[in-house]
């Protein structure tokens, strides 16, 4: 087991090196640099002289070829330094650190909600399988799954932001109200909570539909097993059969899914944060890409890939934990 773990971690680091190298090569080949894009936005009297430009280029190692730049970046990373954001003039770790809790607020809430809601929904649709009410619920969930989040998000905005404008039910995009700083602590919490409603709904409905279908299809496989029939035959009540005998055996795939949601949990959703102007990881990502803020893009890529790898490892380990038949040599 330990052997397996060490091997996975070593390969993981190798994979990370390859990924960051590829991404660095790609973004350095995108036209424009953070400095030239900056220049385009400035007015004429603010233009920096060419000697100043040279100095800045040297400072950010933009005058060197990209592979040297990668080498320098990786060297700093080795010492635990992600570099400084060119745009925000702050360390990348702080820029990302500021955003993580905000994204986690959305994705964490939504993850908990979808897990909590999908369990009863999935069990309910297994228990009522084939009945009219189950067909209606399942069909609705299936259709919900095909609604793209950006369509749902826009429609929600049209209704709650535009149509309900002026009523107390109006919900705004963004994370804070304009008078946020003047509110009391409780008021601030309530304000953020109010702004969270729409993004969390959008974040949740898709995974809710997916998870409950997932539970149902796993349950349907288990319910056909012989030991379920045995349990029924010896007079165990239907609820106990469902929960105690059947459901416990569907836990394996369900648990492993937790590992796979890890990157989405912290990476957030670019589209959703873009729609609702949520200042989280997704918007940072989009912003860094369009501004060619290389250190930030690299920091985000590193974090995202590391989380993906970690999630896969976690899923495999959880497999072994919940299923004693699986062992890693």
């Amino acid at each position: 087991m330990l052997n397996y773990l060490i091997r996975r971690v070593v390969f993981g680091f190798g994979t990370l090196l390859v990924i960051t190298f590829a991404v660095y090569a790609l973004i350095r080949h995108m036209p424009g640099t953070p400095l030239t894009l900056d220049l385009a936005e400035m007015s004429l009297d603010q233009q920096i002289s060419s000697s100043e430009m040279k100095r800045l280029e040297r400072q950010y190692h933009l005058d060197r070829p990209w592979y040297v730049g990668y080498w320098l970046w990786a060297g700093k990373l080795f010492h635990g330094d992600l570099g400084r954001s060119i745009k925000e003039k702050k360390p990348v770790s702080r820029v990302i650190g500021e955003r993580v809790p905000r994204t986690l607020l959305l994705s964490g809430t939504s993850l908990i909600l979808s897990y909590l809601l999908s369990l009863p929904l999935g069990l309910y649709s297994t228990a009522r399988s084939g009945r009219l009410d189950e067909r209606v619920v399942s069909t609705f969930l299936y259709m919900l799954y095909a609604v793209p989040t950006f369509v749902a998000g826009l429609l929600l905005l049209v209704f709650f932001y535009k149509d309900l404008a002026g009523t107390p039910f109006q919900l705004e995009p963004g994370m804070f109200s304009r008078n946020y700083s003047q509110l009391s602590t409780l008021g601030q919490v309530l304000d953020v909570a109010k702004h969270m409603i729409l993004p969390v709904v959008c974040f949740t409905y898709g995974s809710l539909a997916y998870y409950s279908r997932f539970i149902k299809s796993n349950m349907e496989e288990v319910v056909r097993q012989d030991y379920i029939r045995t349990a029924k035959a010896k007079g165990v009540g239907p609820l106990r059969v469902l929960l105690h005998h059947a459901f416990r055996n569907t836990l394996i795939p369900y648990v492993t899914m937790i590992g796979l949601t890890l990157p989405a949990l912290i990476g957030g959703s670019v589209v959703l944060e873009y729609i609702f102007n949520w200042p989280g990881m997704g918007t940072l990502y989009l912003q860094a890409l369009s501004q060619r803020d290389y250190p930030v893009i690299m920091g985000l890529t590193l974090m995202f890939s590391a989380l993906t790898l970690l999630g896969q490892l976690l899923a495999d380990l959880l497999y072994a934990v919940v299923d004693p038949r699986i062992s890693y040599q």
Binding site: T15, V151, V270, L286
Partner: protein
């Protein structure tokens, strides 16, 4: 053996050797699923709509007789160069109905069903009784503009009909590319095993970890003049990992079966083993994720259009939604393209599920 379809009378007459093949049987099972068939018909209708889009809505004649020659200006919607340059030099292209008559009184033309253009605003006086397309908030859905108009006065219905082409092409081309790459790499990895498998699996792992958005954005911006075709290639070239993993797993499983060992003992070369013996049996489970891949590709393209990145194609459904985000009051910019994307994605999901039901005999028992 899966049970044969209920053809009792036919079975007594048909010789036994003519038992239906796997795909014929799967097709038969597919046809019996009403939802999946409806979805297939819907996608077929979309394809028809896409192919005939210039004939359905446009401002260029389908056929016209002009200065002694027959022309097909509507083909210009497929490709600009397919519109005869004579119309450009004569300055006809932005007002066919008036200018054709003006330049050549003898000319005649067959027009599309609806006179609206996906790429520009129809101005006042182009056709009789038209006051030109309204702009912005005034452009609510009406008799002239079925789905309303956008900020520039361009007709939303025309854009959506012409956008079907993009949606379908994106789905088929990029998923086709992804399928070819994915099946090839998965087959090689699973068939040969050993260090080849090790290297290919690491490559797949790396590809799965690179954020799609960075990849697409970087590649698109490196290309000097990105078109929708570049986008298709990029989406396809990076969407094959799931297919490759599945194919690899199937090959790993199948290559250990006795019939493969028998074929190997007969001295067949590896290429024959791979393509003739294993691939056909590995295909059925791979087709399902390919179908879902089509839906995912369409979704990805509309997402990119919505975020305002990717190819600047004016008719993409995602672009309309992007305009809708900037003008939330203009609900018709959101509702109609949103519904189109939803229905298309739903249709492909249903087809995928139908194929799954039809090709997997073990699932039949679960039908309640």
């Amino acid at each position: 053996m899966p049970e044969s379809p209920p053809h009792h009378e036919a079975a007594s007459r048909v010789p036994v050797s003519h038992s239906p093949g796997f795909w014929a049987e799967a097709w038969g099972r597919f046809c019996r699923q009403k939802l999946a068939m409806t979805a297939l018909v819907f996608v077929g209708l979309l394809a028809v709509l896409g192919i005939f889009s210039p004939a359905i809505v446009g401002t260029k004649p389908i056929i016209c007789h002009y200065k002694g020659g027959l022309y097909f200006p509507a083909m210009g919607y497929f490709r600009e160069s397919w519109e005869n340059p004579v119309f450009i030099t004569d300055g006809v292209i932005y007002n066919y109905p008036q200018k054709l008559k003006e330049k050549d009184p003898q000319s005649w033309a067959v027009w599309p069903l609806i006179y609206q253009d996906p790429l520009r605003r129809v101005r006042a006086g182009e056709i009789d009784g038209s006051t030109g397309n309204p702009i912005g908030m005034a452009g609510q859905p009406s008799r002239h503009n079925l789905f309303g108009t956008n900020d520039l006065g361009e007709d939303v219905f025309a854009k959506m009909v012409h956008g079907t082409r993009i949606a379908l092409l994106i789905g088929f081309v990029s998923t086709g590319i992804a399928a070819v790459i994915g099946i090839a790499i998965g087959a090689i990895a699973g068939f040969f095993g050993g260090w080849i498998d090790w290297i290919l699996s690491r490559i797949i792992e790396v590809m799965m970890c690179i954020p799609t958005l960075v990849l697409i954005l970087a590649l698109i911006s490196i290309i000097e003049k990105p078109t929708i075709w570049h986008l298709m290639v990029v989406i396809g070239a990076f969407g094959w990992t799931g297919i490759a993993r599945l194919t690899r797993a199937e090959f790993l499983k199948l290559r250990q079966l006795e019939y493969v060992a028998a074929a190997r003992a007969l001295g067949f070369r590896w290429s024959r083993l791979m393509f003739r013996h294993i691939l056909p049996n590995a295909l059925a489970p791979v087709i399902v994720p390919i179908t879902f891949g089509i839906a995912a590709a369409i979704l990805l393209e509309t997402t990119l259009g919505f975020l305002g990145i990717g190819a600047p194609d004016k008719t993409s459904w995602g672009r309309l939604l992007n305009e809708g985000k900037a003008n939330l009051q203009m609900w018709w910019l959101i509702v109609f393209p949103g519904a189109a994307i939803f229905l298309t994605v739903l249709a492909y999901n249903l087809i995928g599920e139908g194929i799954q039901q039809a090709t997997d005999p073990t699932l039949k028992a679960s039908k309640h």
